[in-house]
Symmetry: C2
Subunit: 300 residues, 2 copies
């Protein structure tokens, strides 16, 4: 495949085209061909409520990684709103300083409409950037919905960023995001309510019983780059923990299983929706109708 050859020649255009194919739900062949080359990149997920300054944090992390001589791929995920591409413009501007750096590859994902949905295309993009040879793959997600949680689970290390004075801690608490954080970041740490947010996070953490890694809490002022080195150090401690304990393998398996489940579920949903469209419009109750369509799918 011409695209595959260009990909192997380290042509970034080939990577961009490969990710576009994945977004269109046609990434299977490439991922199959390139899968043996994956598993070398460090994958970091960065999530948190809108407005917390994730793109500024992402940009600062990229800068720090570049200063350490690492190449970086960034997958910026936004929801399926028809306007999200526009809404991302600001983020693109914040990341613009890296556009000219050929050791940095930035890609925003917008598509949802294929097997496995956004999570499927994002998982492909992460694998493709990994196979392309980037040392660090940063997965930036917007919001605290279930799909954002699922996407964050693709990463080996998940950073949950919060901002003071926003009620974010409650939001994160309610969304069940505490559980996925390896590192908490209090951004805009010069805010008068930053201390209160740190206290809230600590007290929330006390409600959970951690086994193994206990999430670290880092304060940053990403706009001025303050605290970013501590954040990178916390990430490195977590990566070291994963490697020393061998948990890195479990995380890779989990990410793999997650992607397989997403892909299989997408196929099942397609069959289900075809079968549902063919259902008669009769007086069954919901449970009876569900039983009927499932047994039809299985020819029982």
């Amino acid at each position: 495949m011409d695209l595959l050859r260009e990909f192997e020649r380290q042509n970034p255009r080939a990577l961009a085209r490969a990710i576009s194919l994945a977004e269109a739900g046609r990434g299977a062949d490439l991922v199959r061909a390139l899968y043996p080359r994956t598993g070398r990149a460090v994958t970091v997920g960065l999530t948190g409520p809108p407005g917390v300054g994730k793109s500024t944090l992402a940009s600062a992390l990229v800068r720090e990684a570049r200063a350490r001589g690492k190449s970086v791929g960034v997958v910026s995920v936004d929801p399926s709103s028809p306007f999200s591409r526009g809404a991302l413009l600001g983020d693109r501007i914040r990341l613009a300083e890296h556009f000219t750096d050929e050791s940095v590859f930035i890609r925003s994902m917008a598509s949802r409409g294929h097997l496995g949905g956004l999570a499927g295309a994002t998982a492909d993009a992460v694998l493709l950037m990994d196979a392309f040879g980037y040392d660090l793959v940063l997965i930036e997600t917007v919001g605290v919905g279930q799909s954002e949680i699922a996407i964050a689970e693709l990463a080996q290390t998940t950073i949950v960023a919060l901002q003071p004075g926003s009620g974010d801690s409650i939001q994160v608490l309610k969304a069940g995001i505490m559980e996925i954080a390896d590192v908490f970041v209090v951004n805009k740490s010069d805010h008068p309510m930053a201390d209160q947010l740190r206290r809230e996070i600590r007290s929330m953490m006390e409600m959970l019983h951690w086994t193994g890694w206990v999430p670290e809490l880092v304060s940053t002022q990403a706009l001025e780059g303050r605290g970013v080195d501590e954040l990178v150090a916390a990430i490195e401690r977590h990566v070291a923990y994963l490697n020393e304990t061998g948990e890195i393998e479990r995380r890779r398996r989990d990410a793999f299983s997650h992607q397989v489940r997403q892909l299989a579920l997408g196929r099942l949903e397609e069959r289900l929706d075809r079968a549902l469209r063919a259902q008669p419009d009769d007086e069954l109750d919901p449970y009876g109708a569900a039983d009927r369509v499932v047994s039809q799918l299985w020819g029982e």
Copy 2:
């Protein structure tokens, strides 16, 4: 069934037990038996970001409905966070004034772990309250995630509440919630930035091409009850529109289809997860592994 007889005797304890069974994923028999009695209630969904004052709005709506002699069932939905029951305490307090009113039934849903998940149990609870005979069933959801959108779609009329000065409009935009709103509420309308939020909502609405009903925009100060009568009037206009155009039937069918799909999907996911657990731990790529498990499920 004893429970069914007590339910038919209008014993609220029976309704509470029935919903608990639904939360445990064992509501099928009751829903089947009671389904013919459903379809009389007006179902209203109330959603929006945390902190917007949804529980205060819900309480005010209940008060207004009671003043008009309507009985009300409230389903308060919160995510699967282990702390959500605790986090709901404040909401419970805000609704407390109605606890002694036997024409008001308030139930919060916390469980996710069964076929169809939270949406499935919530759909059951709505059907059960409808069958029990409540005139209005109010579905209050927390957050703006995909599952909250799905739950709001159970309702005939969906209210999206926003608060000024919170960036909520952007959040709602990104979450793709614009599309599900029949009525927008700007709560805390005495906030200095309320006018700006109203402008933001109007300009966002111009980006969508509405066919049929165009969402109304209502301002409330729910704590003092201001604007709640306008909100109820907007809801009544939408319900009238649904009935005059016959779209009410389409909404009922959509809610039905949504629940059937959730139930069927839950069953498919159970089978898929059983099959995934049985997969060998070999060197397949994700797409190959997904193909294999799907074809195993279909014995192809």
